[in-house]
């Protein structure tokens, strides 16, 4: 049974499922974040309060953490196996025709994970009481952060890398689940491109307005 659970295809299957779940989470997070553009802090704070107290969301939160951890741990494990599979590298760079985004998933993913840790320090740990701050006023916490130029630059770079990651991840998850179709796969690829551009632009737009336009 262990052989099956830890086979290359099973590991990829789990990675794809966890990844797809994370893909559904991002638009929800973005929808709430867009409330930061409202001059009234009330709607955003109410939404943040709802997300941290509603029982169903609490369950989803646990699933989300499990999905992130599985995606990260399995991702690293798979990558280490991949490196071991070619102990001596080619001297001439591989010029096979592939999507450039697909080649750097471990690096784009790793950058996103580092950003996630920073994100936890800035928000989630306030909620847990580990870091000082007002958990009932995340609106002002976010607004203050978005006024720090260095934070915004890190934020934008991370979202560009997230876009690169999502571009390949979206299509790749379907392929790993065995869903490849003459008509639908090209549609999925277009959806992947739209998603990978729209989500990061949506997130990056918020500090742009707060820092530059206001």
């Amino acid at each position: 049974m262990n052989k099956v659970l830890y086979s290359s295809i099973s590991k990829k299957f789990v990675m794809a499922l966890a990844g797809l779940f994370l893909l559904t989470f991002l638009p929800v997070h973005l929808a709430i974040n867009l409330m930061l553009l409202n001059d009234d802090p009330e709607p955003f704070n109410k939404a943040a309060h709802f997300m941290s107290t509603f029982p169903f969301i609490k369950v989803v939160e646990v699933v989300l953490f499990v999905a992130i951890m599985i995606h990260v741990i399995w991702g690293i494990l798979l990558q280490v196996q991949n490196w071991i599979a070619r102990p001596v590298a080619y001297k001439a760079p591989n010029r096979s025709d592939t999507s450039p985004f697909s080649r750097f998933m471990i690096w784009t993913g790793g950058s996103i994970f580092i950003f996630l840790i920073l994100h936890f320090f800035n928000f989630y740990f306030i909620k847990l009481g580990i870091v000082e701050g007002d958990p009932e006023n995340f609106y002002s916490v976010a607004h203050n952060l978005f006024k720090i130029p260095a934070y915004n630059i890190i934020y934008w770079v991370c979202f560009i890398l997230l876009g690169f990651h999502l571009h390949h991840a979206f299509y790749s998850a379907f392929q790993t689940l065995g869903l490849n179709h003459r008509i639908w796969t090209p549609v999925v690829k277009v959806m992947a491109a739209v998603y990978a551009i729209a989500i990061p632009i949506g997130f990056a737009y918020i500090p742009f307005v707060i820092w530059i336009l206001k």
């Binding site: 990829k12 196996q81 991949n82 599979a85 070619r86 001297k91 080649r103 065995g178």
Partner: protein, 244 residues
């Protein structure tokens, strides 16, 4: 024409290996790449030097024996052909051509550009067959089969097991090879009977041998001389999930 060849020379699997540079004059554009290497070897032998070892057999693009990594491309910079089908007219006078063996833990270098691809045989032996007595030749069309499936099975069966997919993949994964071997049988009624055991065993052996995991980059498809498609890998994944 004159070319500068940077060829990987390695005495055996234990030694380290390094590039040797050969300025080779008098190459005809009509020569195939392998004929050019033959000519180089003749010259090296005449000079009392060790010829370059490389794999080759049919030189018709169907045996899967030849294969080397040329200027960053497994087999050839020209898509859809094996090394033996690569013509020297593709290159220009004065070009530098870098030639390496295929590199993967599962494909150890035997000598120079020759690699041991018996790992593929081990995967095949694990289940790439139908275990019934063949008996006399059956009447054609006695077992009904959809035309679409027969065509797809035929396309999958055109895999020559050359290993370019492993060579091209950044993870040295054998998923395209295995998916072709699984598909050619899974698509036909005769192959369905043992489909579950086959995919379980073949995937298990592939993992044990130490091939990398599939990242769906598509490098394998881009470099496959027989045009084996990534749809095969999706089918392999489906077959694997169905086997439990």
């Amino acid at each position: 024409m004159k070319v500068r060849l940077k060829i990987w020379r390695q005495k055996n699997s234990k030694s380290k290996g390094a590039f040797a540079t050969y300025d080779f004059d008098g190459v005809s554009p009509e020569m195939s790449f392998l004929e050019m290497l033959d000519a180089l070897n003749t010259k090296l032998v005449q000079e009392g030097r060790e010829p370059v070892a490389f794999d080759h057999d049919c030189r018709e693009g169907i045996c899967g024996s030849c294969g080397m990594y040329i200027n960053g491309y497994p087999h050839s910079p020209v898509p859809g052909i094996t090394t033996c089908h690569l013509s020297m007219r593709y290159f220009n006078d004065g070009d530098t051509i870098t030639v390496e063996p295929w590199r993967a833990k599962t494909f150890p270098v035997i000598k120079d550009l020759m690699v041991d691809r018996s790992a593929f045989d081990k995967i095949q032996v694990a289940g790439g067959f139908i275990s019934v007595n063949t008996g006399a030749a059956p009447d054609s069309n006695s077992i009904p089969c959809r035309k679409k499936h027969a065509d797809e099975a035929f396309d999958s069966a055109s895999c020559i097991g050359c290993g370019a997919c492993v060579a091209a993949c950044k993870n040295a994964s054998a998923m395209l090879f295995l998916s072709a071997k699984i598909s050619q049988l899974a698509l036909l009624p005769q192959g369905r009977i043992e489909a579950k055991e086959r995919v379980r065993e073949m995937v298990s052996v592939m993992d044990e041998l130490g091939f990398g995991n599939c990242s769906n980059t598509g490098a394998c498809e881009a470099q496959c001389p027989k045009g084996i498609k990534l749809t095969n890998i999706a089918r392999l994944n489906r077959e694997y999930y169905k086997a439990f």
